[in-house]
């Protein structure tokens, strides 16, 4: 074993990394080589001096001085919010807090149940209307179901010149007229029931029974 390997072994021993076998071999080498022994004694002596060196004592008011230098501040808003959920805490109960909590739980349950219920939809029936006018550019139906709008319910022209539309209506009585080309109001000639409109004309009447 050369001197470099001896040194390496000595440092492994001082680091506490040497195996018992390595220590035994090194001890034998040290005993057999006075120069190596001297070197090891000096090296181990330096390490021992470090370990045994006196620890300086901090000044008597060290802690007080540090505490006096600390910035005074509370936790940040983010930290407070985080702590609200992450910190463990003891909850103290009495009858009023228990009753209030129970009340809130009941209200929450009712709200959830109401929200989960399907909204009651009023049933409708689809009423089909038609009007023959091969030359018309547009035909719409206006009535009390759409506040007599001439735009909202436009009919579709079929190849035979008949205009048709299907309108879902709830139960009730409806009056209507057709509006041809956006300006001419026509009473449905095929309406089974007619009703005066109070202005000298008549409206078709549809009764929906469900």
């Amino acid at each position: 074993m050369n001197r470099d390997k001896d040194r390496e072994a000595m440092h492994r021993m001082l680091d506490g990394d040497a195996s018992p076998e390595e220590q035994k071999v090194l001890n034998e080498r040290i005993e057999a080589d006075p120069a190596l022994k001297e070197e090891f004694i000096k090296l181990a002596g330096a390490v021992r001096m470090m370990k045994e060196s006196k620890r300086p004592v901090p000044p008597p008011f060290f802690t007080a001085e540090v505490m006096g230098k600390l910035p005074r501040r509370g936790p940040s808003l983010v930290q407070r919010f985080r702590d609200l959920f992450s910190d463990s805490r003891v909850l103290r109960w009495n009858m009023s807090t228990a009753a209030a909590t129970a009340g809130m739980v009941v209200i929450a349950i009712i709200v959830v149940v109401l929200l989960q219920r399907e909204p009651q939809r009023e049933p409708t029936i689809t009423v089909k209307m038609s009007y023959s006018s091969p030359k018309a550019q547009s035909v719409a139906v206006a009535g009390n179901f759409n506040k007599w709008s001439a735009d909202t319910h436009r009919m579709r022209k079929q190849s035979n010149g008949i205009w048709t539309i299907a309108i879902p209506l709830r139960a009730g009585t409806y009056t209507y007229q057709f509006v041809v080309d956006g300006r001419t109001w026509i009473v449905d000639p095929r309406a089974g029931i007619m009703q005066d409109d109070g202005f000298g004309s008549r409206n078709g009447v549809v009764r929906v029974n469900i």
Partner: protein, 186 residues
């Protein structure tokens, strides 16, 4: 340090973070000797060591919100103290060299007896440490004064264990040489 002690320290740290500043005194009291010793052995001067150790505790307190609860408080504090010492040593090196000031100052200094007395108050170990380059000094202090394992030293210094062992090897050789030259180890 056992797990109970670590859990207790973590609890104190959480209380400090939640605004209970007075709890920090427990940590300062527990680690003040360690911080002061490391600073003194790095800098070789008690007044500066006191300043650096105190500054380290203040910096640690300010940074408590960023403390990672998977490491020991002491390891974190060691790294802060060593950083403070490095900064101080760098500033000291960048200061105007004494030789440059000499021509502007009156030729008056401590008398030789006073200087000799001052030197004697510094122990041999400190003199030898002062002669070590800082990276070697740090490892020797942590390994053979604080008696930390290489894993923890690696965590504190942010370096690999193998590199630290090589540095400790060289540092011990240098330490031995300096103490030998002083006639302390023979």
């Amino acid at each position: 340090m056992n797990n109970n002690a670590t859990a207790e320290e973590f609890s104190i740290i959480r209380e400090c973070v939640n605004g209970r500043v007075e709890k920090y005194a427990l940590l300062v009291e527990k680690y003040k000797v360690m911080a002061f010793t490391v600073a003194y052995r790095m800098l070789g001067d008690t007044d500066t060591a006191n300043d650096m150790a105190q500054e380290s505790f203040v910096s640690a307190y300010v940074g408590l919100r960023d403390f990672k609860y998977n490491a020991k408080f002491s390891s974190w504090l060691y790294s802060i103290v060593l950083n403070k010492c490095r900064d101080h040593l760098r500033d000291r090196k960048e200061a105007v060299p004494v030789d440059d000031l000499a021509e502007y100052l009156p030729a008056k200094g401590p008398d030789p007896e006073q200087a000799a007395s001052s030197q004697q108050t510094r122990d041999a170990v400190q003199k030898a440490l002062d002669l070590l380059p800082e990276p070697y000094r740090e490892v020797i202090i942590l390994k053979h004064l604080e008696e930390l394992g290489y894993e923890e030293i690696a965590e504190i210094l942010g370096e690999k264990v193998i590199a630290l062992k090589v540095r400790a090897h060289r540092g011990r050789e240098m330490l031995k040489e300096h103490l030998e030259n002083m006639g302390v180890v023979q």
